[in-house]
Symmetry: C2
Subunit: 211 residues, 2 copies
C-alpha cells in the first residue's frame, strides 16, 4: 500500500531503484489533524516525504509570537528538516498537520548517499530547496507589500486551495494567530470581505465565494 502511494506521487520524480530503496528504509506514518510533526529546536533524524494531506509550517520568535510561513502539500518535503538532518543542526520551524496526513520518513543516513547515487534525488533536493526559497520570498512579498485586508484574503484563498475545500473550518482567533495580529482586526476585515461579497461568515466556518 505504501508502494502504491509512493508510485502515485513519486513515480515521475524518482528512478525505480530509488523508489525500491525508499520502500525498504522509509517509515510510513499517519498524522492526525493538529499532530505536531516537528517542533522548534528539534534535531531531525530524517526527512518527511509528504504522501497526502497538508502540513502547516510556522515560525516562532523568542517571545513566542508566531507567524505562518507556508503550507506543504503532497509531493513536498520539508527543506528545513533536510538541513537539520544532514548537518545535525536544529530546526528553526514548527510543523503541524493541518488535516490528516500521510508521510514517509527517510533516515538521514541515506540522504547524502543518494545524492551521489541518484540524479533524480539530486534534482528533487535542489528543487525542494528552490520551491521553499520561492515560497519564503512570496511570504516576504506578502508581509512587505500587502495591507492586512489583502493578506487576509490571500490567506483564505491559499488555505482553501491547500485544503481542497471552498469552506474553511476555523475561528477568527486561529487566523489571527497565523497572521500575527489580533482577533478584533481579523473580525473587522472579515466582515468587510463579507460586505464586498467575497466570503460568507458562519460560526467556525468561512465560505469563500470568490477566488
Amino acid at each position: 500500500m505504501i508502494r502504491e502511494k509512493l508510485e502515485h506521487y513519486y513515480s515521475y520524480v524518482f528512478e525505480k531503484e530509488l523508489l525500491d530503496e525508499i520502500e525498504q528504509v522509509g517509515v510510513y506514518k499517519k498524522l492526525r489533524e493538529n499532530e505536531l510533526l516537528v517542533d522548534l529546536g528539534d534535531q531531525m533524524k530524517g526527512v518527511p516525504l509528504l504522501l497526502d494531506g497538508a502540513i502547516k509550517i510556522v515560525r516562532e520568535d523568542k517571545k513566542g509570537e508566531e507567524i505562518l510561513l507556508y503550507f506543504l502539500e503532497r509531493g513536498d518535503t520539508c527543506a528545513s528538516s533536510f538541513a537539520s538532518a544532514i548537518s545535525n543542526g536544529k530546526c528553526g520551524i514548527r510543523a503541524i498537520a493541518e488535516k490528516e496526513s500521510e508521510i514517509i520518513f527517510l533516515p538521514k543516513e541515506k540522504l547524502d548517499e543518494w545524492l551521489v547515487k541518484y540524479k533524480s534525488w539530486r534534482n528533487f533536493v535542489i528543487d525542494s530547496y528552490n520551491i521553499r526559497l520561492n515560497e519564503m520570498m512570496e511570504t516576504i512579498d506578502t508581509l512587505a507589500f500587502m495591507r492586512m485586508d489583502e493578506r487576509l484574503y490571500k490567506y483564505l484563498t491559499d488555505k482553501a486551495q491547500i485544503m481542497r475545500e471552498t469552506s474553511l473550518n476555523t475561528t477568527h482567533q486561529d487566523i489571527a494567530y497565523d497572521m500575527h495580529t489580533s482577533r478584533v482586526v481579523i473580525s473587522r476585515l472579515l466582515k468587510q470581505l463579507e460586505n464586498e461579497g467575497k466570503i460568507k461568515l458562519h460560526r467556525n466556518k468561512i465560505e469563500i465565494l470568490e477566488f
Copy 2:
C-alpha cells in the same frame, strides 16, 4: 592571484582537487560599487562565489516596489542563482554590489557533476541553501515582529557589520528604498535614534555609536 584568494577563503571548505577544478573553469570578475550582478528574470549561466566585498540581494514585486532580503559576504554564494542555473529557471531577485567586490563565476555545467564527485561541494551547496533559508526566516521575523524603529536600527547595525565600517555612506532615501517605506518616515526615526544617542547624523553619512 586568484588561487591565493581562493585558498584564503575556501581552503577549509573545499578539497584540493575541487580547488584545482575551480581554478581551471572559474571566471574571475571584479565588480564596481553598485554594479548589477543579477537582475530579476535573469537566466543564470553559472553561480558566483564571493571572494570579497558585499552583495545586496533585493526582491521586487510586479509594481516595482523593492525590499532588501539580505547581504552576501565573502565565502557566500547566491542560492537563488544556483537554483536558476541548475534548473534553467528564472531568478527571482536582483543582486547589486554594495561595494567593490570580487567573485568567481562557476559554469553551470559543473554544478551537478561536482555534487557527485565531491563531498565538500555537496556540503557547501546544502549549507548555502540552509544559510539562505535561515536568512530569509530572519527577514520574515523582522517584517512580522518588529516595529519600524527597531527594523531601522537593525538595518543600520547589520549593514555596518557587512561593510566592516562604523559609518555608513548613504542617504535617508536609499534606506527608505531598502526598507520599503518613505523617506520622511526614515528621517523621523533616524532623528529619534540620534536623540537616544545611538547614532549621529551627517549629510550622506550615518555614524553608529552603539552596537
